[in-house]
Symmetry: C2
Subunit: 323 residues, 2 copies
């Protein structure tokens, strides 16, 4: 995706230019470490994509785009503490490399810094963007809390699952699109449409993520396969299996999910249940369904059709990670 690479170059350059150089270094060095270990940086790309879609000024959108990337990295630093994760993108997590207190305090500073990256906007735009950013940030915290709750919650409904993935990962990407639209003075209708496109794309993406964790090959997916099963995560596959299974299936599934064993038998057994109930296929149908819904929103946006091509490319890129 050429357009993606071009945006990414802009973003990488801007992040490099904004490396934290203030004192005390104990606070800022961990942030440079975290940001140097770049992920896909997809959220700032989304902001710039929306900016171009609506004919906005990328110079004005680039720092807010960074704000979204900083915020995302803040959540990762704190989430890694909460999950006691030793690794992030193949490198030590901040709390492992430094310590718990550094992860907490540097994370806090990064959250505040993300607000500062909206300050070049004129007052009205600044207020619209940061207010929506705050609303989204609160939802991300709530999503993380729902995810934590699910660990000990006996029954999780589909509604609760969808709300959790929407809040924990969906709203931030959708917010990234929306902020690009707002800065470009898109109409309210178009702004809402791109937001809904983002939400539904994220929903499809997250369901795909659940699917790939079990059924993706490690090579293509780049994550520890079936980590969700090891950790008894209440993924869409698990919820579908509970819905579709016989009493025996459910008893077997709940037996395996009743403890955190590293046994490979557990993985194979749970995979067999999922296959038997064809929840892998249903999951892929759900991916297709939310992808279609996202396209419906995209189609309604009132701009020239050609300008939307990058969005179709992005969807394909995000949702066809193995096929």
């Amino acid at each position: 995706m050429k357009f993606f690479t071009e945006y990414l170059e802009l973003i990488n350059k801007e992040i490099e230019n904004n490396k934290f150089s203030s004192e005390p270094t104990e606070l800022y060095e961990p942030l440079n470490y975290m940001l140097a270990n770049a992920g896909k940086r997809i959220r700032p790309v989304m902001t710039l994509m929306a900016c171009d879609l609506f004919g906005g000024d990328k110079k004005l959108a680039i720092r807010p785009a960074l704000a979204l990337e900083y915020f995302h990295n803040f959540t990762l630093i704190h989430d890694d503490v909460m999950d006691e994760a030793p690794l992030r993108r193949g490198k030590e997590t901040v709390h492992k490399r430094y310590d718990l207190n550094t992860a907490i305090l540097s994370g806090d500073a990064l959250l505040i810094k993300s607000y500062q990256f909206f300050e070049q906007l004129p007052a009205e735009l600044y207020k619209t963007c940061t207010s929506f950013f705050s609303k989204t940030a609160i939802e991300v915290c709530e999503g993380q809390q729902y995810d934590i709750n699910f660990e000990t919650q006996e029954e999780v409904s589909f509604d609760e699952y969808y709300k959790m993935i929407e809040y924990k990962t969906g709203v931030l990407g959708a917010c990234a699109f929306k902020i690009g639209a707002v800065i470009s003075k898109a109409s309210e209708e178009n702004t809402e449409l791109i937001y809904q496109y983002g939400l539904n794309l994220a929903k499809a993406f997250q369901i795909m993520d659940d699917y790939l964790d079990v059924f993706g090959s490690q090579e293509n997916f780049g994550k520890k396969v079936a980590g969700d099963i090891y950790e008894n995560k209440k993924t869409i596959l698990y919820l579908l299996a509970l819905e579709k299974g016989s009493k025996e299936d459910i008893d077997e599934l709940k037996y395996w999910y009743s403890n955190k064993t590293r046994s490979i038998d557990k993985i194979f057994a749970v995979e067999r249940i999922f296959k038997r109930l064809a929840v892998d296929e249903i999951a892929l149908e759900l991916v297709a369904k939310y992808n279609t819904i996202s396209f419906e929103y995209l189609e309604k946006i009132e701009v020239e059709k050609e300008k939307k091509q990058p969005f179709y490319d992005l969807s394909n890129y995000l949702l066809n990670r193995v096929q």
Copy 2:
């Protein structure tokens, strides 16, 4: 202080009216717990005081005043984790009552909520206030980091000490005054003067805090006496003793500060050194000095003299906690 009680009633009522009632309760209930265990709530009072000084609209200032209290409580929740503190104002800290993850995530949410409490301001005011709030919030993080650094830092200069106390505690109070002034459309000069009044008052307050920790009576001060000595804190008394002491004094002081013993002998020995070098008196002189400086800024503010009386009363209240 009648005026103080009146402001506090307004603030308490507003905090009560804004109790967090959203889902998930696991995220918000700890925040209500933290806020119910009220401290002096002095920062929101400061905002309302500045608002009245400059003839502003308290209805407009009350929610930003709450933002400062929420932000302060966010820092306490995370600081208590970093300090492994079991108690806060005589009650269990959030991470003790709930757990580490709750303290991190609920704290994050409270920081974001504090930004939302500026949203009733019109765009220009909102931008001015939240930009200054972000700058201050970053300084508070930096101050906390300096404080952490001091624990392992062999030599701490007076400049470093002053910067640490200014950032860790001074700027937030000064920011509370400034935001009250900005919302009331005070002139730039007056806004800067009240900010400087706040900074110097806080400096005097913090030096008094160091003094009282060792030389205040537990009854009046309400804190564990000499906790700073137990914890080898590099307070103003310690720095002054290093400056004034003979080689023997310094060796003795460094001997006692080389380990974290709960021995009462340590307290008495260090107190004797402090007394012998009269650093208690020097500390009180410094309190008086910064108090005087703060009054000089206060005097220069261009409003009727009578309106400044609450500020003199506040200074007396904060700086004469035992005499």
